[in-house]
Amino acid sequence: MRKYILKRLGSGALVVLFSVLFNFVIIRLAPGDPTRLLAGKDNPSPETIAALRERFGLDKPLLEQFWIYFKQLLHGDFGYSYVSSLTVWELIRSRIVPTLLIAFTGAFLGLLIGTALGIIAARKKGSKFDMFMCSISYFFDSTPSFWLGLMMILLFASILKWFPTYGMYNVRQNYTGMAHVLDVAYHMVLPVTTLVLIDIPYYFRIARSSILQTMSEDFIMTLRATGMSEQKIFFKYVMRNAIIPTVTVFGITLAYMITGVAMIEIVFAWPGMGRLMLDSITKRDYPTLSAIYLLLSISVAVMTIVVDVVYAWIDPRIRIE
């Protein structure tokens, strides 16, 4: 077990190292002079260039430059944003909570609803409900999330006027306390629904196929032969085995969610990382973009390792390989 964990940690470290290296290389390979990229202007003054060269050690050999860059990152120094006077870290910190709020709510609801639907569909395999859910899941799997978001706005915000079109809270009313919470929740409905609809097919399919898989195993046949009731077999033996893949996948998707959420945030003008990402793209704010990327790769790596280790702990078959 310890060997397995160490191995996974090694892979994770490699991923992070690769991401850092990649970030380092991309700024230097990008068209144009890196100082100009780092300064964010076409014609930086000679003083700026000198200062940047000094700061990033651009006149030193590449390997040493990389070391300087790496040391800065270790101190949590992602540099300054080109467009705002804040440091990149401050920019990201202010956006991370709204993103996590949507991401977690959506992920949990998607997990619950998708898994429940998958279980029902698997129990009634071949029924009308099963067929309907399978075709619907193909449809939502093929739908670009941002387009679904736009359609949700069109239908529920513009035509039916049930929900607000955009934002996180009502800027005209300065709600506090409980009213504020309710207001945010009200604004969350559409983005979260979009996210949940996009996520459901994923969990649906995993739950359904792992239940069907377990049902076809020999030990279930044996249980049936003992005359145990289907009800008992299902809840006591099938469910327990079938739910493991769902849990694993959930952990991994949580990390990837941030990019998925980003598109939806942009559609609903939700003040999170997605918005920041879009702004950084349009304004060519490379330090911010690369910092988001780094954070993302680190969180994906950490999540994957945690999930793998948990999985190996639950299911000894994994760690033997």
């Binding site: 892979s11 994770g12 490699l14 991923v15 690769f18 991401s19 990649f22 991309i26 700024i27 390979l29 990008a30 068209p31 193909y138 449809f139 799997d141 093929s142 739908t143 670009p144 999330s145 941002f146 387009w147 736009l150 359609m151 706005i153 069109l154 915000a157 513009s158 035509i159 359904r208 196929s209 069907l212 898989q213 076809s216 990390a255 990837y256 941030i258 990019t259 598109m263 942009i266 559609v267 990402m277 879009l278 793209i281 349009t282 060519r284 490379y286 973009l289 690369s290 988001i292 990327y293 993302l296 790769s297 994906v300 790596a301 994957t304």
Partner: protein, 284 residues
């Protein structure tokens, strides 16, 4: 002697008939290919032409309406079809070629080569690929070529893992062992026997990758990272976003076409998977 496998058209037809996903997928594919090749002939207007009828709702003159610059949406959609397909096909092909090569080598040669390649695959598997693509495109420019190459370069891991497992399994089979005994070179065995016999899961997976690539391109376009020189559905949606809710037609129709296209390749991939690896049938 290599025995040639007989392909019986009646049998294939039967397989297709019994496989709903494959059947629907193939019908959709024919429609899509027709639109991609002949769509521009049926387009009522030049999709690049600007005219004075801006933001027109769907009517007899403009069946799907016009956008803010007076582009006819129907014509744009018809022209955009080939863009989506081209990006999907080429990106998926690049990822298939890289995946098959690396996976095949890793699984067949084994040993330290396998360990190194496997570690590389693990790293790539953990990279947040959409953001990686986004970062590269944002830095190096958003030409269609870049988009295709970058999507291909980041999506090969699935193929490589499948191929690696296949190569590992096939290597132990008797006919490969006899080729070794006959003194055939390792490379020749890999190329002539292992790859052709292990390619089936890759075909299904590559079909699915086409879907993924099309969705990725749409996402990039939505972020303003589409190739400005081509017409793509994602870009039409992005352009129409500012005119919602009043001018709903700009966003709605290209979105529906995107779903239709992505769905086609999903269904094809699922159908192929079912035909090519019958073990999966339990999950039907």
């Amino acid at each position: 002697m290599k025995k040639k496998r007989k392909i019986d058209p009646a049998k294939i037809l039967n397989v297709i008939k019994n496989n709903t996903q494959l059947k629907i997928g193939l019908i959709f594919l024919v429609i899509l290919l027709f639109i991609a090749f002949f769509g521009p002939l049926f387009a009522p207007y030049n999709p690049y032409r600007l005219n004075d009828d801006t933001l027109m709702a769907p009517c007899a003159k403009y069946p799907l309406g016009t956008d803010n610059l007076g582009h006819d949406i129907l014509s744009q959609i018809l022209y955009g079809c080939s863009t989506s397909l081209k990006i999907g096909f080429i990106a998926a092909m690049i990822s298939a070629i890289i995946g098959v090569t690396l996976g095949g080598i890793a699984g067949f040669y084994g040993g330290w080569i396998d360990q190194v390649l496997n570690e590389i695959m693990n790293v790539f598997l953990m990279l947040p690929d959409f953001f990686l693509i986004l970062l590269i495109i944002a830095t190096f420019g958003s030409s269609m070529m870049n988009v295709m190459i970058v999507i291909g370069l980041t999506s090969w891991v699935g193929n490589a893992r499948l191929m690696r497992a296949q190569a590992k399994a096939i290597r132990e089979r008797t006919f490969i062992q006899s080729s070794f005994a006959m003194g055939e070179s390792k490379f020749s065995i890999l190329v002539r026997h292992v790859l052709p016999n292990g390619i089936f899961p890759i075909i299904a997976n590559t079909t699915m990758n086409i879907s993924g690539a099309i969705l990725t391109e749409a996402g990039l376009s939505f972020l303003g990272l589409g190739d400005p020189n081509v017409i793509s559905w994602g870009q039409i949606i992005t352009a129409g976003k500012s005119y919602l809710p009043k001018c709903w037609w700009i966003c709605t129709f290209p979105g529906l076409m995107t779903i239709f296209t992505v769905l086609t390749f999903f269904l094809l991939g699922e159908g192929l998977n079912r035909v090519l690896s019958p073990k999966m049938d339990a999950n039907k």
